[in-house]
Symmetry: D2
Subunit: 364 residues, 4 copies
Amino acid sequence: MSQSSFGKKFVVTTWGESHGKALGAVVDGCPAGLSLEEKDIQAFLDRRRPGQSRYTTPRKEGDEVEILSGVFEGKTTGTPISLMIRNTDQRSRDYGNIAYSYRPGHADYTYDQKYGLRDYRGGGRSSGRETTGRVAAGAIAAKLLKELGITFCTYTRSIGPVSASVFCKKEIPNNAFYMPDANAAAKAGEYLEQCMKNHDSAGGVIECRIQGTPAGLGDPVFGKLDAELAKAIMSIGAVKAVEIGDGIQVASLNGSTDNDGFCVKDGNVCKTSNHAGGIMGGMSDGSEIILRAHIKPTPSISQPQHTITKGGEEFDMIIHGRHDPVIVPRAVVVVESMAALTITDALFSNMSARLDRILDFYSR
Amino acid sequence: MSQSSFGKKFVVTTWGESHGKALGAVVDGCPAGLSLEEKDIQAFLDRRRPGQSRYTTPRKEGDEVEILSGVFEGKTTGTPISLMIRNTDQRSRDYGNIAYSYRPGHADYTYDQKYGLRDYRGGGRSSGRETTGRVAAGAIAAKLLKELGITFCTYTRSIGPVSASVFCKKEIPNNAFYMPDANAAAKAGEYLEQCMKNHDSAGGVIECRIQGTPAGLGDPVFGKLDAELAKAIMSIGAVKAVEIGDGIQVASLNGSTDNDGFCVKDGNVCKTSNHAGGIMGGMSDGSEIILRAHIKPTPSISQPQHTITKGGEEFDMIIHGRHDPVIVPRAVVVVESMAALTITDALFSNMSARLDRILDFYSR
Amino acid sequence: MSQSSFGKKFVVTTWGESHGKALGAVVDGCPAGLSLEEKDIQAFLDRRRPGQSRYTTPRKEGDEVEILSGVFEGKTTGTPISLMIRNTDQRSRDYGNIAYSYRPGHADYTYDQKYGLRDYRGGGRSSGRETTGRVAAGAIAAKLLKELGITFCTYTRSIGPVSASVFCKKEIPNNAFYMPDANAAAKAGEYLEQCMKNHDSAGGVIECRIQGTPAGLGDPVFGKLDAELAKAIMSIGAVKAVEIGDGIQVASLNGSTDNDGFCVKDGNVCKTSNHAGGIMGGMSDGSEIILRAHIKPTPSISQPQHTITKGGEEFDMIIHGRHDPVIVPRAVVVVESMAALTITDALFSNMSARLDRILDFYSR
Amino acid sequence: MSQSSFGKKFVVTTWGESHGKALGAVVDGCPAGLSLEEKDIQAFLDRRRPGQSRYTTPRKEGDEVEILSGVFEGKTTGTPISLMIRNTDQRSRDYGNIAYSYRPGHADYTYDQKYGLRDYRGGGRSSGRETTGRVAAGAIAAKLLKELGITFCTYTRSIGPVSASVFCKKEIPNNAFYMPDANAAAKAGEYLEQCMKNHDSAGGVIECRIQGTPAGLGDPVFGKLDAELAKAIMSIGAVKAVEIGDGIQVASLNGSTDNDGFCVKDGNVCKTSNHAGGIMGGMSDGSEIILRAHIKPTPSISQPQHTITKGGEEFDMIIHGRHDPVIVPRAVVVVESMAALTITDALFSNMSARLDRILDFYSR
């Protein structure tokens, strides 16, 4: 299993460095017959593109995707879909500091420890640009899921100390933070202005809700659906905690308040509550799947920070350059993409769980 | 990849149902030459054995492990180690309610949805007894890691609303909850008494600290060490949230407070803080790895709960039987086991990261 | 992926040494709802049991299988099926020679080189007894495939220089060699008598024909169905060559004779010949799949052979004990088992190849 | 595991269709620190490039490789190496016949059966051009192995009925067929002239010898080194049989002639013969590894062949276009590449087999 691959049946392999020639992804295991064009993918990439507001880096990353294989006459063929995004904004500049010393909060030190060398230009493979491939692949997964009636609603729940206190779905695309609460978004903006003035940065929380998943997805032991989602989400650069359903709150609840009862509504099995966030014993229960990602503040800040050179000399480093004061808004689509990849994979893996359904499948 | 397997190089495959003939695990990829006896494994199993205090189920589960293969003359041979634990306390009784209806907070419904049928005796494969195999395998991983100087300190941080406020390592094994704070443990006991009186249950938080890991473990994209740990921990039955380092707190911190600076101490690279919990960019940085698991209250409670039969008839179910009012203390060793499996796997996977080290390895 | 596992969706993990406590297999990914009892598996194991004729070792290996998990009320539950076969004929004896020196044609030397130590009793994990777990798992796969109308015909094509020259299916179970030709079987018997008189051993060729596979199984690049079959068959201890369809003959054919034309018969697509052995471009074409395994002579022979001790001292070794003069007859069911495992895995993996079928599957 | 991926630790994922925009491969798990430039890869690609003699297709396939990621300042960085080869000779033409009917000996029918549609231009993904990605990746593996002292000698053993009868290593690159026998090469040329005159094609046999592998590579059960090699080689389009060492001959040998004895030479353990082809019990024994691939005649021939349309109408098809009368010479480097990938993967997987070596590795 490639270290840079995700999934068992619907497999994405990403490649590329921030300032290399290009970045991309190979999506293998996409079923034949899905209508797919570059603009389907571009729409997702545009959601993570920088320069959309004064709270994201003004770097211009064209992020134009090219489909190199796996699509014929507008349909996927079942063979690997190769996606490439050429890097365009590769300013030649002096990386001296970054090349020979370790930025706090970054992966410079651990890359050097693991590999003995690193592509230091723009963070290389540890750059947030690595998520480009994930988002491109996620767009395909999301399109495929939509055909099955599975949809996503992903948004920012908080920026620093400012949390959304109302949920208005329509509001989400209307503010720079993808928050479902216009008031909170305004306050988040004020908070970020203050951070920027202080040469500092902020984190936040992203929530993802998934509707329409059939019951029974996920494998009940190590491959629990929540375990796979946790891995998927925690594999996004700056995520430091993942919650499912009531998440950390469950630790202080009682069984009588945490348990979701069952009932029947219009002939369908329903739950009387959804503390579990749509997953029971590692398998989807047919209700809404809810997860949250806790994202750390952007590590690149323009105030002096204590660190060392590769040679072990201590000094106060100042990082120059164009950095997002908060990465949360741009990470919203990354969280959604990773969730979409996970659900797609679980859907395909689940197809051989029952003999009667296998017999039915092959007798058609 | 088997649904019931965990790991890429050090792979454990578990099997068995709560009330079947036996449970067990096959550990493949354990290197040859490790001294191993049944008592090494038994010591770990005893930490999760029920009946240790009035706050765990009084069920007797002998949990005696038998090594069936892979060990010769007291040493592992590099071939699969098969471990079996016979089920002994299989009381024959009426499972009527559980067989034909869905317990709230349990996996009965999702198992039926996925598989069309289930072994309902004692929860079958969704029982907490499934973790026996994980712990047996974890014991081997932990013994191996100890040879490399990697050790674990795992304990209960909170039970319901009661949190440890001091950290005394020696205290951990001295109370029924594995809390590092005797006072908090006493209060947790009082809280649980109240829960039991109310026919209710409680959850809690487990923290695991890992010392001695070399820097560079983990793969930098999808196979980040924190992502693998998140999957490992979230795959434990009742876990609903996983945190690494400062976890959920990072979302409200600023970059200037969250970033860990670097310094040099006695000639070694150190960090001036450890908000990251020992993992940067998905790779270990050589400092202590810190993670937390948030565990939901035991779903089996003896007060009436609203639910339905398989046929869709609503009713109020009362669950009889011998259940833990809290599973947190018994889950401590499960968290440690899953962490040990993850670290061992990362250690082995990491060995081919650098050409110079490969050349060195094969030139001996 | 465990080194001792086979398959992606229908995964078997085997464990155990020849003279350890037990051998076994864990079958994970078997769909729920298959009727399964121990006798289904026993029937397969009996086909590889020694002592069936004077041409197989007179060792008694009870080979009684016990199902430890994964089956409830006579049906598979979708959870791992743990199978165990206790070793019963573990005579305590002196293994001196084998423990400290290297038998020609055996894996003693390579085990020591890889692991630094080995369980030398009866060949340990490199013993033919390792195939017990494969056959137990293969029995389940074959039962499952039968429900889908997929059947196997596996037989001995040659023993040493003696080849079957007619094909009579009924004859196969009637002779000690599973040959489809009574005359050839008689001659093979005579040949083996001569080998035994000479303290020597013989090899042979096994052919496996698979009927009823739907077209489209197998993945077209690295996971070609013939590639997976080649791996499966070559992973059986003594196999040194694998052929598909016309196999080695194709190298000297012309395209005009090797190509299979297409035609229509009773409304179904057929081929005018089957040189390809049922696989085109790595995918099944719906016609009979044909493969052959070339098996080397039993390496354990009771005439002196030149070899060395672990210490590097040369000497002439004489191997005592009860050995098959030919392993081909007992390997017939092993070849069939590995083929059955491969086809089952391919069937399950194939289910997500087309969007229309996925939509159909999930809309039911 | 992606269907288009090969390997566990050194993983190559290929993508691309014959007449799409480009083809390529992503190589993940290549250790950091290997010197690598495009010309290292180009040298391998040139060995499979068409148009080198009158016996290969005159199509011009530029096959110029571009490294898009994973290399920095001339060294691999440990991150995925993305390789792309743009398709240049994409003549726009009428594919009518191929689009709506099934060429004998090709994968047209099975692709349609599996996926419901296919990219028919030039065979799409089933084209021999798919091997471009394998060869590009194989070049990297071979370069890496050379640093470890592992080298390959791969050549054509026979073309149709013409076999090499002497072995002269120097002669291999001197003839159009890569045969180690100039006489045989001349006769092979004559034979092919005759085939071409008859509008027919030929097959052949490729042999690969691998020197310098340490003992102990390969996993002893399902992941035997010969099993992995068999899979690797059989996954090449036209291969119908794979042999290791004496291969099919072993079936008619006796144990006394097939067994390789051990001896000591200049203080090193040696074998007195190498019938096993360097692999015992699935693990390398330190002697030369020998394998053979049997390759079918090119299926595209310009004489009428009976087949059907997608609609089921029978007709005699004539295939036009530029086709190799034999693909064996161009497949030599493909066999070598697949062998190199397999050996590299086995080398890396083997590193955690012994505790003493792990302790040594991590104590440096």
